[in-house]
Symmetry: C2
Subunit: 261 residues, 2 copies
């Protein structure tokens, strides 16, 4: 891991896909789920943060940890996961740039699950103290972050419904719909095409399926002409059809507005 401390508003390095600062990304994310005033944006810009590169498949938080800072994903992809007795893995969420996967530990203190990177990633680490200071200064910003964690919860519930009550075909389609909409919201998609560095094993562990079955299900979805998925790129060839196949209703994502592609 390379470290680099500094203000969250420092300019992005060459690795940033756009010349955008971490603060700008965070603001964009928050504005995709609510509204910010000028002074609130300013306060967010003053957050201190350390910038870190994370190799793929590296744990960022481990069960039992007591994190002292919050991780803002700048680039890449990561997930939350838990392991069960016999070694099986359940991925409980995927995270894209703009997400704060370990924000819950700001108030839960001790980590009850793991967070790890799935692709080479860049993150900004914001000390808990800085977050709490921001919340004291701007309580409404705290409420917006809270809203963010509540949307996380809504996504958990939606996944639960999928794992518990939907067929493999529906589940996989639904996941793709969700990821596309979420990535659109932070402008990480061109049309209905997104970069998706997931293995079939990752998808299986997220949806409570076996790899073999995910493989066969993907072939079905491809066969229905709904998607194309190769080399880490997912394209929805038939968005309407994919939504229908996934029984996807995006209300649970609680977008303020969906940004045009």
């Amino acid at each position: 891991m390379e470290h680099g401390a500094g203000a969250l508003s420092c300019k992005g390095t060459s690795l940033m896909s756009k010349s955008e600062t971490p603060a700008e990304l965070l603001i964009r994310k928050l504005e995709s789920i609510g509204e910010l005033s000028g002074s609130q944006r300013d306060a967010l810009g003053r957050l201190e943060a350390a910038r870190v590169s994370v190799a793929p498949h590296t744990d960022i938080v481990r069960e039992g940890d007591r994190p002292t800072s919050v991780t803002l994903l700048l680039e890449g992809f990561c997930c939350r996961y838990q392991l069960v007795a016999d070694g099986k893995r359940q991925i409980t969420s995927f995270h894209i740039p703009g997400d704060l996967p370990d924000l819950p530990f700001l108030f839960l203190s001790v980590a009850d699950h793991n967070v790890c990177s799935l692709a080479p990633s860049q993150v900004a680490m914001i000390p808990h103290k800085a977050m709490l200071g921001l919340f004291r200064e701007q309580p409404d910003v705290a409420h917006l972050f809270w809203r963010g964690t509540l949307i996380d919860g809504a996504i958990f519930r939606e996944w639960m419904v999928g794992i518990g009550r939907r067929s493999a075909f529906t589940r996989v389609s639904h996941l793709f719909c969700e990821l596309i909409v979420r990535m659109q919201a932070v402008a990480l998609s061109s049309e209905y095409s997104v970069e998706l560095p997931l293995t079939q094993t990752d998808i299986a562990d997220a949806l409570g399926l076996s790899t073999v079955h995910v493989n066969r299900t993907l072939q079905e979805i491809r066969g229905a002409g709904l998607i194309e998925l190769r080399r880490g790129r997912l394209v929805a060839l038939d968005w309407e059809g994919l939504c229908e196949a996934g029984e996807f209703e995006q209300t649970y994502l609680h977008r303020q507005r969906t940004e045009a592609v």
Copy 2:
């Protein structure tokens, strides 16, 4: 539904199991997951609230609603649930007295799931305005409520792990462990015995199983001498064994302390 407005601190009616006010219950709940100062307790006591009786199997919130108050469950039992295309139901959480099942809609505005009672229940309805006023006055209390919703999220994740990766036997055992610990935390259990007004269909819908399979699994768990379950009362005959069978680790519940029985 009978209505009755008044301060949240008004004395409970005859139906209250203990002569405890709604505010006292709420304080007890919050203190099971964190700490409150005297002035914070006072502020909680000043919350205005309307008291309502709810018949069993009555929806309290419906998908698409825009609630304007928060529901504090005083007595009884309720759950969150979602329906899928073919009519199947997934219960995403169970709620016991002290819980605020629709708190998320304070910040999400539009309900993305349903909340309904499973038993005859008493609730206190606290206007959103009153909650927001409390949060303005006592930001740390807001953080404690936030912590509560984060624990909700942790429970969602744990359920996801169960539904996705654990056997029916483990899942059912785990659910019982969780409910017993949660009810102990608000002193609703005597020893390892709790009132549990759930049908096998409810359990099935919560765990992503069929009723038939739940029935057979219960027989197995009973057969192993771990529990007794009749007429709405669950008794853990072998607590250690039940925890082991359910692979139950209670860290995810993030108790401040576990109250003695």
